[in-house]
Symmetry: C2
Subunit: 413 residues, 2 copies
């Protein structure tokens, strides 16, 4: 029973999740590439993008109204309006054809060019037509009212978007406004996904022999890799055989930026994986054990700069670990320095959650009307994860959480 | 000045955001299509997917240990262990070759098939080898300990994933485990994006004439459409001309599931858009005004079941409205009945936020160390939105929020 003997051995370096996130930092980063703006959503700039010129580039009206010299409206009120001669109108999208002289006003729609001479725009609601060609202004305007300056959205050379933060919808909008139609971004990290185990068969296997299990992890991990900005590279199923595993992982490390391997569910299979990973490159294994439940038998290695992540064999533990530890690694390799926020919600625990001090417990919960119901069950059950709306983390130092406690639930999406 | 006269007219039906989300419900839904599991992440099932057979399909061990008859371990302790004969071992992925007779145990790795006769698995940590071929069990096991039942993850016919909830990573995993390798989902809603305005030019325009503005909204809206599960169909820029707009919107309504049009920034352009939209199909305009800032001049119409969304001309207002009101519409057309959660965080307001009662105010904020700093500035400025980490909603009934108030910040990602 070589398989069982291993269980008595201590993992040689169990780390906390916090230590892992802070300390496991293989050097690999993806190269830069140029993408068109329309393809850049969620991509990670490898340098700040700057404004080629002032934005909007001309002083614009922000309201429908009249361009004026503010001084002409000082003291204006309903009882004592300022009277101004309407000298003309500005058309959208064109330079203003008329200037605003003292005592004059020029009609202007929202977004149009401020005419020369004007330093404010009064809203049409604050004016009345006194007689054809003359308006009454019933409220005073200060210089700058109702306009944006030529460089107010961005001055030439200003940073439009920072490096390291995935591009959001509004970032694309500002880049488009500035005429920046392509962006230098990090290439998507190519993430090898290797499944192992003599019992594992492809999902398309129509009917199973007793003892066989379809590969549930690979397709789910691929989805999480994409969420983290990576390009999944599924490598299929490798039998529990050292040479086969060695060949598969060696090829993966050579051609990918991150390697994820389901390390087998039994102690023997995990030991085998660790032995193979240890030979893949320097500095090698960083930890073989994380103070995390589920997910303790996680293996992390730095193989010549390429992160290799050995996940527990059961799909539920594998997904928990990959969310907590794997996705941050993929993001970092892809140049992310400002990770996007996770959805979360506050809720009250419906029941006590037991836990042991010294490890972080991830408890699946369903959330309804502000109440988080813990979903217990064997860690082999994937249905617990599909029934869950999110998870609650019981911190390392806690020995559990009492019913009624308000907790942060990280939500799945 | 036809442009200005319109400003004095009341919008004919201003609605609150809550009324809009509840009440604006054009009938359009996309058709069903079949996608492979690997392409199904985020897609929306149009019917529940069910388990074709029991999962895992056989009773499995969840630990490394020994399959036993639980009754043989009753009363076992360190001082008085139960002695069991080791009758053999189960190999991964194969039916168990030996049965467990009374007084016997069979070695079994995590995930392997439970042998006949056994009703529990004791962890190897709770056993010791007494002599070759015999183990001591030092803790009692109850029936069911250390195993999952053949139908514990899902019984044949059970719902694996519901209709209407976008598929998450773990949902794909459970479907793969069950051998469900394709899913019936709603087609992605095709969303026309029409930009209007004589001042608007394509983002690739190298140098601008004074008064021209590059189209910032289209590329940003396309990103939000994708986030909502839709397929953006950018239709380019239409000049402020009723016939041109009519032709463009008519074609969009005929070939798309949702139509989004930037309704122009001036009152005249907005009135023009409303007049055209009113003629596109029954029942027509549902509201021309939402009690929302920014975003009041929003137009919503139901044109023969196709939602038509007229957005404010300035990109920042357009993006705020589209997030609040447009994305839910796109999701609904795409069959979503359980929308994914939005990321949010609690923070304390750094300063007072003024607001008027009777409308919902959307205030952009930067968040650092639990403090939300409101970012004020003309609604024409897109840079306020790129500087923001998220937004705070000041409810309809409030007249502002005081500094120090704890608020929920919806975070951008």
């Amino acid at each position: 029973m070589a398989d069982l003997a291993g269980a008595h051995r201590e993992f040689f370096a169990v780390r906390t999740v916090a230590e892992t996130l802070a300390g496991f930092r293989p050097a690999r980063r993806t190269a830069a590439e140029t993408v068109a703006l329309g393809e850049a959503h969620g991509r990670v700039p490898c340098e700040p993008a700057r404004a080629p010129h002032d934005l909007p580039g001309f002083a614009r009206s922000t309201v429908d109204g009249y361009a004026v010299r503010a001084a002409d409206t000082y003291g204006a009120s309903e009882g004592l309006p300022s009277y101004l001669d309407v000298a003309g109108a500005v058309a959208m999208g064109r330079p203003a054809a008329v200037a605003v002289a003292p005592g004059a006003a020029v009609a202007i729609p929202t977004g149009a060019v401020l005419p020369a001479g004007a330093d404010a725009v009064v809203m049409v609601e604050h004016t009345q037509e006194a007689m054809p060609g003359t308006i009454e202004v019933v409220r005073p305007a200060a210089p700058g009212d109702g306009i944006v300056r030529a460089d107010e959205d961005a001055a030439a050379g200003a940073e439009l978007v920072p490096a390291g933060r995935p591009l959001r919808a509004q970032d694309l909008g500002l880049l488009a406004a500035a005429g920046v139609t392509s962006v230098r971004v990090h290439a998507r990290p190519r993430v090898a996904i290797v499944s192992t185990g003599d019992e594992i068969v492809p999902p398309a296997t129509d009917s199973l022999e007793v003892g066989q299990v379809r590969d549930a992890s690979a397709v789910a991990l691929a989805a999480l890799v994409r969420d983290a900005g990576g390009a999944p590279d599924p490598r299929g199923i490798v039998p529990d055989d050292r040479d086969a595993l060695d060949a598969a992982l060696r090829a993966a490390v050579e051609s990918c930026d991150v390697v994820v391997v389901s390390a087998g569910s039994s102690v023997g299979a995990r030991d085998e994986t660790a032995a193979v990973v240890a030979g893949l490159g320097e500095p090698g294994i960083w930890t073989h054990g994380i103070a995390l439940r589920p997910g303790k038998p996680t293996l992390l290695a730095d193989c010549g700069g390429v992160p290799v992540i050995g996940l527990p064999g059961n799909p539920r533990s594998a997904l928990v670990v990959f969310r907590l530890v794997g996705m941050p690694v993929v993001r970092r390799v892809g140049g992310v320095t400002q990770p996007p926020p996770e959805p979360s919600v506050r809720a009250r625990l419906e029941r006590d959650v037991p836990s042991a001090a010294g490890r972080l417990d991830v408890v699946q919960v369903a959330v309804r009307d502000g109440v988080a119901t813990p979903l217990f069950g064997a860690s082999a059950l994937l249905s617990i994860l599909t029934a869950a709306d999110g998870y609650v983390v019981v911190p390392d130092e806690a020995t559990g959480l009492p019913a009624g406690r308000e907790v942060d639930v990280t939500l799945y999406r």
